[in-house]
Symmetry: C2
């Protein structure tokens, strides 16, 4: 195992007292190197082996949680286009029984979703007792996109941060462990990956011209992410910065964060409800 700890990549906890400043002190997104591989085991082969081991462990942990039907886990994945949200889910959960997973992807809101508050559509997909839910994009889109496009002002954005903190506190109060990962890629990496989608016919379906438009606002999105992560990283729902220029490293790190967190939940198969001693099934 690597000696680096996941704590070093946790966004400092939001403190109410700094709310009026709108900033979380020292946190700077740019200070994290997208190309770093702090959780790499040394090489690609070793990393793949580690990922495989972690995925198998996640399957065991998830199975115990499912049997216990008490704890819930919510993994939120956010990141710029091409940061690898889909790929992360595929790789990290390769060995995990899909019966115990609840994966929800959030795209541009529908008219019915727009007609409600911005947490309405995500609330219904939160995990039930024993479930591991994965949000591929999430309610955080609603403090990123409308902020960059100017659809909401600073005051509304701050109110939404508060609504998010309260909402996640409600979930945490009901045995929900929340883990939020920002898949951190460089602007160069995005260029390469978008170009690959243009050049490779099997990736054409993933390309949307609007991605190029969003790319023009790269700096604005980085700033919006920096503020949103700072305002919503809490002890009960922390954000982690995942260097994600390397796909292998990204997968290992997300799997590590999830496994380390789930290990603390004391997940055990529950005892038998009846005295089973001596029972012979005929």
């Amino acid at each position: 195992m690597s000696k680096v700890t996941i704590d070093a990549f946790r966004v400092p906890h939001f403190k109410d007292k700094t709310a009026s400043e709108g900033k979380n002190g020292s946190f700077k997104l740019a200070s994290y190197d997208c190309a770093a591989k702090p959780f790499s085991a040394g090489g690609k082969d070793a990393d793949r082996q580690q990922l495989s081991d972690l995925s198998l462990e996640l399957d065991v942990l998830q199975d115990r949680m499912h049997a216990q039907t008490r704890e819930r886990v919510l993994l939120v994945l956010q990141g710029m286009d091409t940061s690898g949200k889909d790929g992360t889910i595929r790789a990290v959960f390769r060995e995990v029984d899909p019966l115990g997973l609840r994966i929800a992807a959030f795209r541009a809101p529908t008219p019915d979703e727009i007609a409600h508050d911005f947490l309405w559509r995500v609330h219904r997909h939160t995990p039930a007792g024993g479930e591991l839910a994965i949000f591929n994009r999430s309610h955080y889109e609603d403090v990123l996109v409308p902020r960059v496009t100017g659809a909401i002002d600073k005051g509304e954005c701050e109110r939404r941060y508060a609504h998010i903190r309260h909402f996640e506190s409600l979930l945490a109060d009901t045995h929900t462990t929340i883990i939020k990962c920002f898949l951190h890629i460089s602007k160069d990496t995005q260029r390469e990956r978008l170009q690959a989608r243009v050049d490779d016919p099997t990736k054409h379906w993933k390309f949307d011209p609007s991605d190029l438009e969003a790319r023009q606002y790269w700096d604005d999105y980085q700033a919006a992410y920096e503020d949103a992560l700072a305002a919503t990283s809490t002890p009960e729902a922390p954000w982690y910065i995942v260097p994600a220029d390397s796909k292998t490293h990204r997968n290992v790190m997300v799997a590590t964060i999830l496994a380390e967190t789930m290990r603390t939940l004391k997940l055990e198969y529950p005892p038998a409800k009846h005295d089973l001693e001596g029972i012979k099934v005929k």
Copy 2:
């Protein structure tokens, strides 16, 4: 119109500073007379006429809101068994187009509902833009029943009050006007109404022996209501005490509160989206 104002029956607003005391100063449920008829127009006939007028006005207000698709109204009805929640809905909305109403009744939670936080099941029934939603019982059951049965302790109850305030603040921030009515009946009135359910074969279906069990905890429920109303009456989601021993008065008063509130929303039919001048439909 009566000279009494609905403000006189609004539960004083919860103030954070008194949270540590767990009490909302002067508010006492017992100080409200269940048999009072402050909104009566004088007699039964006059009251029925007034209710009819108000219901017709609510239909107009609701139609404008539906056309505007911006404002949302949420009416929460709570009260002891036989306090008349069903009857209120039937009488107040007699003249209102059911197409614009969304009525949700909440009974004992299902296993799927229990497996989530207590606001999960109500959030999905909150009104969309242009809708008037009515909650027949609500998320308040979860700070009443488990408190009286001892399923949750005082600390958990206080946390739930806070979750409710935050949740209702989220809704209010999205153009939702929240009106909460406590239908206030006396213990004697409940006895008469439960006895009628026993004696009248057409009301047998409404009788449940567990109602008699809950009646044994009458004082505990009154205390639980007093605390819950005090902790969750806010400027954006006020509680009203509705004297409800008289069914006619109860209906007139709920209709009055709703109409007075909706009149302040500046509901107007929106202007034409196109220049309609001179268009002749052939």
